[in-house]
Every structure is written in C-alpha cells, then in structure tokens.
C-alpha cells in the first residue's frame, strides 16, 4: 500500500452506520482487518449484486483483509487481534462488539484508540432506538428539509446519512491517533450519528437561531429544489433538469437574457435599488424558468459555465459513466475481486506523494493465515 496511512493498523468492527469511515481509512493505505463470522458479514447481503456478489459490500468494504472468526470459540484470538491494533472502529451491530467491553480493553491497553459510533450516543431516552438511514435522517433533521409541498418529506438516495457519520468516524479515529502520536495515550472516542447528521444541515440551524436578523421564518417549508436563498433552483429544460442561478453576478445574467431577447422589464432601473432586490430575483427566476424550458440541458449548462455562471446540469446516473470531466481525470477505478474486476468510483482526494488506492477485494480467510501473513504473534 502506498497511501498516507500505510503504517497504521486498524481493526474494523463497524456496522452500516460507520463502515464508510473504515473505508476512507482503508483506501488511504491503512492495514485494515475486518473480521466476520463463519456465516459471513451480514453486510454482504446488501444490494445491488453482480451475480452473487454484493456490490454494496465491494464498495463499502474496500481495501480490507477479511478474516473469519468463530466466537466464542476464537475469543482469545480475537482479543489478541484487538490488542495489536493502533485503532479500532466499532458500531453496536459490528462483529464482536456486543461481546466485548471496549472501555475495559482500552484501559488495559492504554495505547489503543477506540472509536465507538452509535445512533444517539451512550445515554438518553433514545439511546436504544433503532435508526436505519430513513429514521436517522428523519430524527436528525435531513428528511424534513428535503421534498416538496406535494411529496412526503424525503430521504436522500442511498446511505448519505451514514456517510456523514462515517466521515466523522474517520476524523475521530485520525484525530485520536494524532493525539496518541503526541502524548502516547490512546482513548475511547464516541461519535453520535444523530449529532453528525444535525451538524450538516447547512441553513437549518441558522434559520432557527438567526431568523429575526435575516428577516425570515425560523423554519422553511419543504420547497422542492428551491435553495433557502431563493437564488438556486432546478428548472426543466427540453430534455431534463438544469440547476439555474443568477448568482454570483445578477448583471451578467441580465446581459445574457438581453442577448437572448428575453429580458422583459428587467432593464427597468428600479431593479438596481436594494429595496427591489427580492423582486428582481423573483422576476429573474420567473423569466429563467420559461427561457430554460426552450433549451437543451447539457448545452445550456456548458454555455452558462463558459460565462462563469454556476449552472449545473441535472445528470442522470445513466450518463455518469460518460462524463467528460471524470474521463479526462481518469477517475473511475477498477477493483479486483477474486473472479473479475469491477469498475467503480475513484479517489475523493488526490495526494501528490502518498496516493489513494483501492486494495484487492477478496474472500474471508482463517485468522491464523492473516495473523501469520502480517507478522502478528498469535497467542496459543
């Protein structure tokens, strides 16, 4: 492995709420061992599949060494494995987590950094609540903020909520490791999924706290694609959606509308006055909606960007494989499995000296093989 974490040993006992964090660290070169029971990791049953293989698992459990551990029979091996790590990432439904007292383990091995990712933290009336992604997103505030007046509140597609808690789990582990490198001491670090989601809601808390100053309501209703600023929205072009905005330069947008002969009364000098700014935005958006309906999505997006306007073409997933920016950056990356190679996402960041890389994806091996292979002593 060539990544920045190539000297870090991690045991990955994450569940769906934090597995993305283990992936982030594994793809950065850490030696990450993910144990699973003889019956296999339950997350191998997540769709989509290619033949019998879970593509979900290939994505989220990338760059790991899988080891098969039979608890309670292999308890001492498992314990031994845990004590050899720099960092242990855990979730309540992760392998061996219910059977292990990590606070006690950390106390016995004070150099260990243990990250414990739970839905609601350790205390409180909701601490044992079951919260799959939809429920976590609902309680955390993300669902209320997504959707339109004529739809229910909406969950974001896929596992976006757990990718937030996962990212925080990665940060928690690395920050714990950084502190340990400084002062020699590990620690237990808790991450709350609920708080993670609530910390990433952009305007939601701001509106509640500062609505008077902003002269707005404390809570915004569901309003489709319309951004809280009223200045970004998706309009339908002839062949799909385009995210349209007159920002950051309203005059530049106006000049373009004049070129197109669709400016209507927007050239009225009254619109230059600050007290007419809201009216100007509304009027501009109204014209843009009708104008966009006469255009094709991709060319309109490219023309806007040539004019330095931050429009965004609403790209269907089907067209992502052909994306010219990703292709030019040679972004999509192959993962080698035992039977074939599967193409998927590439690096979320590019390091000049210690590049991100995906490790091979293989089946689970007996623990003794892995222990021997990586030179860790196996307790007899």
């Amino acid at each position: 492995m060539s990544g920045p974490l190539s000297n870090v040993r991690i045991i990955d006992l994450t569940d769906e709420k934090s597995i993305y964090g283990a992936k982030l660290l594994a793809d950065l070169g850490a030696d990450v061992v993910r144990p699973e029971p003889p019956a296999g990791d339950p997350l191998r049953r997540r769709g989509p599949f290619k033949d019998e293989q879970s593509l979900w698992h290939i994505f989220f459990a990338s760059s790991r060494r899988f080891v098969c551990i039979d608890l309670p029979e292999d308890q001492s091996l498992f314990h031994n494995l845990l004590t050899k790590a720099d960092l242990i990432l855990t979730g309540p439904e992760g392998f061996g987590v219910a059977e292990t007292d990590f606070d006690a383990l950390q106390a016995d091995y004070p150099g260990l950094v243990v990250v414990d990712v739970r839905s609601f933290g350790r205390e409180g009336p909701w601490k044992d609540y079951l919260a799959p992604d939809l429920v976590a997103g609902a309680l955390g505030g993300a669902v209320a903020t997504t959707g339109d007046a004529d739809t229910p509140p909406l969950k974001s597609f896929g596992e976006l909520n757990f990718m937030v808690s996962g990212a925080y789990a990665g940060i928690a582990g690395l920050a714990g490791l950084y502190a340990k490198r400084r002062n020699g001491a590990g620690q237990v670090v808790d991450v709350s999924v609920h708080e993670s989601i609530a910390s990433c809601l952009e305007h939601v808390l701001m509106f509640y706290w500062y609505h008077e100053q902003m002269m707005r309501e404390p809570v915004l209703p569901r309003r489709g694609s319309l951004h809280w600023s009223n200045a970004y929205v998706v309009f339908q072009a002839l062949d799909g959606g385009v995210m349209v905005t007159p920002t950051p330069d309203f005059d530049r947008q106006l000049a373009w509308l004049i070129e197109e002969g669709v400016q209507e009364d927007l050239i009225d000098p009254k619109y230059d006055l600050p007290e007419h700014l809201v009216e100007r935005i509304m009027k501009t958006m109204d014209i843009l909606k009708r104008w966009v309906a006469t255009k094709e999505a991709e060319p309109l997006f490219l023309e806007a960007q040539a004019r330095h306007s931050p429009y965004g073409w609403v790209i269907p997933l089907a067209q992502m494989a052909e994306n010219e920016q990703l292709r030019a950056r040679d972004w999509f990356t192959q993962v080698a499995t035992e039977t074939e190679s599967v193409k998927g996402p590439g690096a979320p960041y590019h390091f000049s000296q210690t590049p991100w890389a995906l490790g091979d994806y293989g089946e689970a091996h007996p623990i003794s093989d892995v222990m021997e292979d990586i030179g860790w002593e196996v307790a007899s």
Binding site: P48, G121, T145, T146, L154, M243, P345, Y349
Partner: protein, 403 residues
C-alpha cells in the same frame, strides 16, 4: 488534557461553506486555525456579520490581510512558512498570483500540507467551472437520484456535499499529517468537490458498470433492499399548512418488525392477511400498506407514536425540523449539542453553536469561541506565529494594512 489537535497550525484561505467546514472541524479539535479575510472581500457569505459566516467560523482566529499591499503579501508568505496546513477553496491560480502557491511555499516549508478544495479539481475540461453545492449536487447525480419518479427534480434540500467535502478534506489533512510523521515531508492534496459527490453513488455506479442498470429515484423506498413499510407518514398536525404538518418515518427492515408494527396498530383487519407476512407480499401491496399505515398514523401524535413503536422494536422517528432539534429533542438537549456561545458578540449579541459530534474521553473538545470580525486577532496571531510585537501590528493597522 488538551484537545487532540492542539498546536497544529492551519492557515485558512477558505470561504463560503465547504472549506470553512473543514477548518471548523479542525478548530473544534484544538487546531490553531487562522482565518484570513479582508474588509474588501467581506461581503455576503464572507461577511463576519452574516449568520452564514457565523455558522462555519467559530473557534478560529481572525487575521486581516489586504493582498493588494506588498507588505501584507510578504507577511502572508512568512505565515505560510510557519503553517502545518495551508488550505484554500479559491479558483485554481489565485494563491499562485499572491506568491503562495504550493511550489513556492514548499521551498521554505517542505513539511507543509497544502490542500486545495476546488469544485472540479485541477485539470480536466471542467476544471475552471464555477460551482456551489446546488451545482455539484446536480452534476454528481445527487439531485437526480433524491427525488420522486415522474415529476420534476427535487434533490437534497440543503448543501450536503459542501459539508461532506469539508469532512473529507479534514480526513485528508489528518492522514497527510500521519504520513508526514513517517517521512517528514508534506504534500499537495487536490480535492474535487464533484468527485467527492459522485463517490456517494458508489454502489449504484458499480451496478451501472457491472450490470448496465442505471439507478432511478425511489422517493423513500430503498433502491436495492426489500423493506416495507418504509416511508414517512402524516400524524396529527400541529398547525396549518405544510409547516403545520407532522410526519413520522417508519422503516420495517424485517418481517418481525412488521409483526411488531401490527401490534402497535392494534391488529387492524387490513393488515392481517397472511400475504403480508413476507416482505415480498408486502412489497407487492406497497400502496395498500402505505395507505393503511398512514390511516393509522393520522390519528396519533408523532412523538408518542414514535415511543410506542420503538418500545415494540419498530424503527420509527419523528421527522424533526430545526425548531424540533432545538426545543423537542431530548438527546440533543442531554448532550447540550445546541448551545449559546458564552462570549457575546459586541456587534451581534448572542450567537449559537452546534457541538462537534465527536466526544473524546481523554482530550475533550468543549471550547466554543465566537466567530471573530476581520482582523480581530491580528495582534495575537502575528505575535504567536511571527513574533511581531503589538506596536508594530498597530502601526500597520493605522497605515490601512492588516484589514
């Protein structure tokens, strides 16, 4: 014990949300984040008086620099020599023009971790495109997929990807620090916010490549896994209009959770058919199930119903809005997740903060300093980083610099 990143020096040229969120996270964990701003640029989301700026810039020290002044540019170069991390999300090339591009900084500071968070990354035909989070959501497939089929696009209702680009940048910085410990060398990190966003569709992209299947929006259903009921349902309203609606999310991930939900509902006749014992049977009658569950929830107060569902082992959660998070949520209250900042702003009065969602047992992060005005910490920053005395700083300020 001190916070985990105490002593780490971060020079922060970021603006709006994605970049400031990365450095907010580092600052919350004790890094000395010096936020560079200038009076000339402090408009809109860059104005320390704007609530948006308040949200993302607490716990940072504020240094004013006017890069049109040669002296301020020289000071900036000296600060770069002292930094562990230099971070920006300007368009490609701006920092080079100021004489603090990566190659230049590396000459005098070979350990520097220099991270650039542009919309599209360096290189490629879209490299110079202008993007905000709604742009990235659209281009990355997030807007298309988070929607209801057969109607106009909706997308995520907040700037999800900006937060995530920030968190990924924080991961990258901490990883590069670990590498530097081994090698002594810094490096350059190129973050493309677009690539971060596309990455979130990972399993769906693999499905596209491996099977030729392109994911379509699924509203509140799961795209690949069988679960039913799995939706948001209206409860007793609290008031008028959309904002007066109350919703509860119910997600039966297993057959036994469905059986438990039936008990909570009092075994209504419509639910008792054996066809619904299996998830396949329920999925085949999804509309009927959704209507039946909605008919039940409509007569219930959602917080009470959530407690009853959870007590019975049914995953359920109130669809909480910003007011609920602040006033109804017992978990957030218990951990004082949303709290007033003690130091009241002389210009803005009371300000608030949400807590870092990470709790360190040995290196707790409980310090929340208010967001500072442009140049408010000139004396302390230039004293600590460059050894300048206060008189020199004040003299520069009186000459119209450092602001």
């Amino acid at each position: 014990m001190s916070r985990p990143l105490e002593g780490l020096r971060v020079l922060d040229f970021t603006h709006v949300l994605a970049g400031p969120f990365a450095t907010r996270c580092l600052a919350d964990m004790g890094a000395d984040v010096v936020k560079i701003n200038s009076v000339k640029r402090a408009i809109g989301a860059n104005d320390p008086l704007h609530p948006y700026y308040l949200m993302w810039n607490r716990n940072k020290r504020a240094l004013g620099l006017d890069m049109t002044h040669d002296e301020d540019r020289r000071l900036c170069q000296s600060l770069c020599e002292q930094a562990d991390v230099v971070i920006d999300n300007f368009s490609v090339g701006v920092l080079d023009r100021w004489g603090i591009g990566f190659e230049k900084v590396k000459e005098s500071n070979p350990g520097v971790i220099y991270i650039q968070m542009s919309g599209m990354g360096e290189g490629g035909p879209w490299s110079n495109f202008v993007t905000y989070a709604p742009t990235i959501h659209a281009l990355a497939g997030l807007t298309y997929l988070t929607s209801v089929s057969g109607r106009e696009d909706i997308g995520i209702g907040f700037s999800y990807n900006d937060h995530q680009a920030g968190l990924h940048a924080a991961v990258a910085i901490l990883a590069a620090l670990e590498a530097r410990r081994d090698t002594g060398a810094g490096q350059h990190i190129d973050v493309s916010q677009f690539e971060v966003g596309v990455n979130f569709a990972g399993p769906s992209l693999m499905d596209l490549f491996a099977n030729g299947r392109a994911a379509e929006p699924t509203a509140n259903e799961l795209p690949y896994d069988d679960a039913c009921p799995h939706n948001c349902y209206q409860g007793l309203p609290k008031g008028e209009g959309t904002l007066g609606e109350r919703w509860i999310a119910i997600a039966c991930m297993t057959d036994s959770q469905w059986q438990a939900l039936k008990s909570v509902m009092g075994h209504p006749e419509w639910a008792e058919t054996a066809d619904f014992d299996s998830v396949a049977g329920r999925l085949a009658a999804r509309a009927e199930i959704d209507a039946g569950v909605a008919g039940f929830t409509a007569n219930h107060e959602v917080y009470d119903l959530m407690a009853r569902c959870q007590a019975a082992g049914v995953p359920a959660g109130v669809v909480q809005d910003g007011e609920d998070l602040n006033t109804r949520d017992p978990q957030l209250a218990l951990y004082q997740f949303l709290h007033k900042i003690e130091d009241v702003s002389p210009l803005l009065g009371q300000t608030w903060a949400d807590r870092l969602p990470i709790r360190f047992s040995q290196t707790p992060c409980n310090i929340y300093e208010r967001t500072k005005a442009v140049g408010e910490d000139n004396v302390s920053v230039l004293g600590d980083w460059l050894g300048m005395d206060e008189a020199a700083v004040r003299k520069a300020e009186s000459e119209g610099r450092l602001q």
